[in-house]
Each structure stands twice: as C-alpha cells, then as structure tokens.
Symmetry: C2
Subunit: 273 residues, 2 copies
Amino acid sequence: MKQPIGVIDSGVGGLTVARELMRQLPKETFIYLGDTKRCPYGPRSEEEVRAFTWQMVNYLLKKDIKMLVIACNTATAYTLEELQETLHIPVIGVIEPGARAAIKFSQNRRIGVIGTEGTIESEAYPNALVSIDQKIRVNSLACPPFVPMVEEGTLSGPQAEKIVAETLKPLKDMNHIDTLILGCTHYPIIKDLIQQEMGTHIQVISSGEETAREASLILAYHKALEVDEAQPQHEFYTTGDIEKFRLVANNWFDEPVRVLKFVELEHVPSSAY
Amino acid sequence: MKQPIGVIDSGVGGLTVARELMRQLPKETFIYLGDTKRCPYGPRSEEEVRAFTWQMVNYLLKKDIKMLVIACNTATAYTLEELQETLHIPVIGVIEPGARAAIKFSQNRRIGVIGTEGTIESEAYPNALVSIDQKIRVNSLACPPFVPMVEEGTLSGPQAEKIVAETLKPLKDMNHIDTLILGCTHYPIIKDLIQQEMGTHIQVISSGEETAREASLILAYHKALEVDEAQPQHEFYTTGDIEKFRLVANNWFDEPVRVLKFVELEHVPSSAY
C-alpha cells in the first residue's frame, strides 16, 4: 500500500497546492484536510491557529503520512518551525518555496508580494526573502477582494478584470518589481488575470507550484518517493459542509474528487497537542 | 568564520553553477575546484570518474565544507548516490534539479534534453524524469559543437547562430516539446541563442539555476544557512593552468575571481577513497 502525504489547509485554498502536488508527483497518494468550518485563519490568534493546526496534524498522523505539507500561509507562519522540530516526518510550508523561487527569477532584486491582510501584516515573505539576501527590496500589497472573488467564481470577464486592475494599481504604479509572489493559495486560480494586468515582463510565482517542486526534492532527498505506478487514490476531508467543499474542489480539479467525510476536529481533546 | 560550500567540476563548466549559487545565496562562501587538467570526464570510464571525483571531494573535505555540490553532469551520474550515502554533509548534483524544474514547467509532459554525448548516452535525465512521472516523453539530443564553441568564446553573431541552428534542428523539427533542459553546465552561457532558436514558447531550463535553488532549500532544511552578512571571500582552485582558468572565470563572472592555486590531485593516494 502506498504511504500517503498529508496536506492541511484552513479551507479550500490549499486545493491549488494539492492540485500541483498531484500533477508534479503523479505516483503519490495525498490526503487533504481542509478546516472549512473554522476558515479563515487569518483573523485568528496565533494560539488558536496553532491549536487548530495541531488538531489537523494529529488527525493525519493516524493515517501514517510520510510527509506533511502545510498548504496555508497563516498556519505556515505560526507552526512550521514547531512542526518541523516535533514531527518525525518532513514538514514543508508554502512561504519559503515561493521566496526561493522569487530569488531565482528576480534579476533586479525587487520582488512584489500579494496576499491576505494577515499574511502581508505578518511580513513572513519579506522576512524569508531578506534572510537569504539582505539586498532584496520587497513591495507588499494586501488584496482583500481576491479571496471572495475566487470563492464566488468570478474568474474572468470585465467585472473580474476591473477588480484585479483596481486592487493591483498601487503595486503597478511602483513599477519596479520584476517578480511577483502570489502569497495566497487562492490566487493561482486568477493567475492569468494577474499576469495580464501586471504585464508579461513580470514573473508571477505561484506558491503551490513551488511547494510541490520542493516536496518532490525533499521526498527524493529522503529516498521516500513512491515507485509504484498504480493510479493513486487521493482522499479529501473537510470539517465543514461536504457538498460545498465538493463543489469548489470539482471546479478546480480536472477529475471529480472523493470527499470522504466530515471530520469533527473539535472533539480532539486539547491535551492531544 | 563562515563555513564554506564545496563545488566540484571536471573543469570550467561548473562555474555557471557556482555563479548561480553565489547570486541566489549571497551570504554563503564557496570553494570551487575544477579538474581542468583531466577534463573532460565524458569519455572516461566510470571507475576513473569515480576516482577523480573522490580525490576532489577529499581535498574539499579538509576545508571543512558544510555541503557539496557536484556541478558536473558526468560526475553526478556516476557518484551522487555513493557520495550521499558516504558523506556526513548534504550532497547535491545537477541532474535532478533540472528534471524537477522541467516537470514543474511542462504542461504537455514532452521534455527536451540537450547535453554532451556522454550525458545523453547515460540517459540520466530521462531516467530522473520518468522515475517521477512515467507518462513523460523525453526527446534527447547530443550537441557536441556547443562546448568548444563556448570555450572558444563564440557566444554571439552569425557564426554562433548558425552552429546553434544546425545543431538544434533535429529537436526543433520534432516540434512537440514545451520545455528544454540544458543538460550541460556550459550551455547557460549561450542560453539566449538557444532560446532564440527554439522560440519563446519553449521554457529553457538551466540546471545551474535550479541546482542553486535546491541548494538553498537543503541548507534551510538543515538550518545551515549563513546568517553573517559580511561579504564572503570565495576561493577557486584548478588542477590545470591557472591563467587559462582565470581567463574563462573572469569572462563569466561580473567580478574578478580569486584563483588561489594549482592543486595536484594525482598526489592523493588511491587508498584515500
């Protein structure tokens, strides 16, 4: 039996990361757990985010996962280091892969980052970038209209273009960056719109693609890549409404997804983490 | 004092990898050792390549390196696994990073690989690609004229364009690939020419850029990234003619390089490896 890779997220955004993981690692089996009931994590306290994340992690550890991917910017910012130190399996988040990719692409060392207000305020991306190269200049911009727009399904057309143009205006006006990190897992769904608005001279980086690439390296590094070529059977779990989750997932994936069941995480006693 | 990262190559080609390492990891110190005297490794036996590589590795281990980068396709193919199993520091090669990047970029799963005759015959890239995704189709092409062309300094103009066009014709005629791996460390020097000939719809991947990106991740994963922001002092060593090496290095780097000394590797007794 294939040993699965666990993917956790505060909701549906991490599905873009899961999709890239499945594309770049087609032999691997993934178990996705989205905490849609308590989403979004952005406005929550660090303590709450840590508690919720540990509940998800403990649920997946029982399924014998060989690696954990934190497909949520907020959870990565608050728990990555702690999980890496505590768990006996490799743990990767979505922030550093995007930062490293941006450093690779940028020629002028001026990098833009867009994300939710929480992610931008946390300065997780500037910190990750500058810790590697102190000469990098970062222009950050919170884009609150993007998540509701994506979840409502406004993905193209004049209305979508107008929202994207108005939201990105402050970043475009600065006109110095050559690389833009999509620092929110929802944004790859409107990557084409963002690319079109920013111009083809800007390298737009999707954290999901880069996280999948790094997951591939870490598995290879640990000699833990799956060799069995049989079609993997992925599993999706949600803490919220199953039908709503399935609807979004089926919109974002080429094939229908198996949303197995509702998970009641609140029942995990707090002593478990 | 900063703990250095060792970079070994059969000659000067690995300097393109070193250049990317220095750009993407500007706080790190690098020690480069090029075995120019016994270059190229391509036509040599596996036993010889292994012996020469171990001599270089033993020389660098005495300099207390914290990571080893094998910036040579032939040496990677023959020694990566053995070095990873034997050394107590992380070891990375140039083949897998290029393969993983190609998998990330390719949408149609048709990937081209160009390299020296030795690298193409070894099938190291197709093996790395297909081991991750068995549905990938690889078109390989040996490009023997490229290394002499780059070393002679024919980097632009009608003569260079003619060589590149004639050499790449078989690959271009197939016209299916959407991604092309430069599977030789010399080729990034003529990346623009290759991109121009293949067309802008082809994603051209430089192994050096991707290797540097993965070195950055592995260092972070081991919490071994340098934090000191002082300008690092890199060192370059060659087993061959110092002036010839310096000439090539100075052509490829923005700043003059310090070629410290000639290293006589033959003096390492074979029992040392």
